[in-house]
């Protein structure tokens, strides 16, 4: 039995994989430091525990160093037969995930320390989730994608219910988990079908197979739809968004920030790879489907957001709508792949900075008000003008007001849609246009509370903002402004992305 297996295996074309350690350096650094965090925790080095948050932060930042060296090196690296690719896109995304992770660490450290939480395990969870995202950035293979997805998701389920004795937190975690697992299952079923059609798990092979002669087989269509559904869940696109508001509201706020930014971005990263490398040949399915998802996400997300009174929940729906904006370029992927890719990546990067800024303020404010209600922001401008201005910048950026980051994100989306020069593109552009107006209405509700209303309880004592939060705020707000004023900064990355499709073997 075993012998026959070995014999069988020997006949299989099994090449010893060439492992490019430079390419894997970020992951290796991250895993190493993650292990250190684990060890510190496991061996109950009590005095060491307070170093865990800084250690986590260092882990993120340290992992960026090899990214820089890779970027300087510039060459695209491909491993495992093309299943794992380190190119500029991957580098940019990894950097984004690591930086987001760093910011979330900053956000979480005081929050966790002051609340009823297990601390050190949390950072471990977060590190492994980030690791999943980092891996996701390089995945060009169904299996890698699946593993990366689970690697980033499973810790996230736990993090969402991290406040063990809080029913809401439990519920948030459970819902997230159930929906997540169900979505994964659907996605896997779709993947199995795609695998069945192409006989390979490599995206490039799948792409080649399904864009072939019999590419219109229903089985492929079904597979694509199911896979997109799976990641539609991840990016909280309507109608797969239902979990997001509940989870966001119930989960500890730093986790929400993490989910809303990093996790969602990871979903988009996966979608980018699947769609641009795998499904480009089946634009006839992807385009309309994405059109529907984008339009529905924007509209439904915005409309429901209009009626929210809780800031976190409002940001959740705003995130749904933002996902719609980010999905929009996918709707013209067949005619205008390059612009669409640029648009999505740009949007994701800018979205990360501005949304994190918004959450940072929410966390800072709730330190005082212990509430997530919009009304609790009343009079903020009066007693904490700095926070109010930061929140204003974040929200205005989300709304797409120049010269703050969001405008460029929206702009590239418009650009991609218009450049497609198709009816679908123009109509979706109009939907985006209308929705960006609606969106301001609810962002405006928060602005209104901060600037125009008085503090609800008349308490105008200043908010004590810890250093970590201040640095998180500074980082994100500065990035938001810089991205807006000098979109060229991102332009440089995205500019380099142009050749990515070819590099990835698309």
């Amino acid at each position: 039995m075993l012998a026959s297996l070995v014999a069988q295996a020997a006949q299989l074309p099994f090449d010893k994989p060439i492992i490019d350690f430079h390419a894997l350096a970020p992951e290796i650094v991250l895993v190493s430091l993650m292990s250190l965090v684990l060890l510190v925790d496991v061996f109950k080095l009590e005095e060491g525990r307070r170093f865990i948050p800084p250690l986590t932060g260092i882990a993120m930042l340290a992992s960026i160093i090899p990214l820089i060296s890779l970027a300087l090196d510039g060459a695209d690296r491909s491993m495992f037969g093309g299943a794992y690719v380190v190119d500029n896109l991957a580098l940019v995304l990894k950097a984004m995930f690591l930086l987001s992770g760093y910011v979330v660490t900053l956000l979480a450290s005081n929050y966790l320390a002051e609340g009823d939480f297990w601390e050190s395990e949390f950072y471990l969870m977060m590190l492994s989730s980030i690791l999943g995202m980092v891996v996701m950035s390089s995945s060009r293979d169904l299996i890698t994608i699946f593993v990366a997805l689970e690697l980033l998701s499973i810790p996230a389920y736990l993090m969402a219910s991290w406040e063990k004795r809080n029913l809401r937190s439990n519920e948030a975690g459970l819902k997230y988990y159930l929906m997540g697992v169900f979505a994964s299952a659907l996605m896997l079923y779709g993947m199995s079908l795609l695998f069945g059609v192409s006989g390979s798990t490599l995206l490039t092979d799948i792409g080649a197979a399904i864009s072939g002669g019999d590419s219109s087989t229903p089985i492929v269509t079904l597979g694509i739809v199911l896979v997109i559904v799976g990641f539609g869940f991840k990016v909280s696109a309507v109608p797969f968004h239902s979990w997001a508001p509940d989870t966001y509201e119930g989960a500890p706020t730093p986790v929400t920030a993490f989910l809303a930014v990093a996790s969602k971005a990871a979903g988009f990263v996966a979608l980018i790879q699947l769609v641009f490398i795998g499904f480009l040949g089946r634009a006839d399915v992807v385009e309309p489907m994405m059109w529907v998802l984008a339009a529905a996400s924007m509209t439904v997300g915005n409309l429901i957001a209009l009626r929210q009174t809780n800031v976190v929940r409002l940001l959740a729906y705003s995130g749904v709508a933002q996902a719609g904006f980010m999905l929009a370029p996918f709707a013209v992927v067949g005619t205008n792949a390059e612009d669409a890719l640029t648009a999505v990546v740009t949007y994701v990067l800018i979205y990360a900075s501005m949304n994190l800024a918004a959450f940072a303020v929410v966390i800072a404010v709730s330190r005082k008000t212990q509430s997530g209600e919009v009304s609790s922001f009343g009079g903020l401008f009066g007693y904490a003008p700095g926070l109010a201005v930061a929140m204003t910048i974040a929200l205005a950026a989300l709304a797409g007001i120049p010269p703050l980051g969001g405008w460029f994100a929206k702009f590239v989306v418009f650009r991609a849609l218009v450049a497609a020069d198709s009816a679908a593109g123009y109509t979706l552009a109009l939907v985006v246009a209308v929705n960006s107006v609606i969106a301001f209405y609810y962002y405006g509700m928060v602005l209104k509370a901060m600037w125009f209303s008085d503090a609800p309880d008349g308490d105008t004592s200043p908010i004590r903002v810890p250093v970590s939060l201040v640095s998180a705020l500074t980082l994100t707000v500065a990035a938001t402004i810089l991205f807006g004023m000098f979109p060229g900064l991102i332009g440089h990355f995205t500019g380099n992305l142009q050749g990515l499709l070819a590099a990835a073997g698309g």
Binding site: I143, R165, L174, L178, A185, G196, G199, T247
Partner: protein
């Protein structure tokens, strides 16, 4: 080739799983239904792998099994947590968060 039979089996399992996920109110049963879907996937993968004479299907299936184990572990933990806090694992009653 006996591909279609496997696929039909997989599809059936998938459907049963989906039904279970949507219809059972017991958290544990929902978890089990998800396992059914994953197993449907595994059957598909293995069948297709055999069909294409590639080990990738089996490898994929192995990964799915492993990950599913982890997932269910987390899932059970969450259900337990809920049970501990609410003394119930009726999913219908878990609706504090809505709107």
């Amino acid at each position: 080739m006996w591909l279609n039979q496997f696929l039909i089996l997989g599809a059936l399992l998938f459907c049963i799983g989906v039904y279970g996920v949507l219809a059972r109110r017991n958290g544990v049963m929902v978890l089990m239904s998800i396992e059914l879907i994953l197993n449907a996937v595994n059957i598909n993968l293995v069948a297709f792998g055999a069909f294409h004479a590639t080990p990738a299907g089996q490898v994929f299936a192995l990964f799915v099994i492993a990950v599913a184990a982890a997932e269910v572990g987390v899932g059970l933990a969450l259900v337990l947590l809920i049970y501990r806090n609410r003394s119930s694992i009726d999913l219908e009653s878990v609706d504090l968060l809505k709107g």
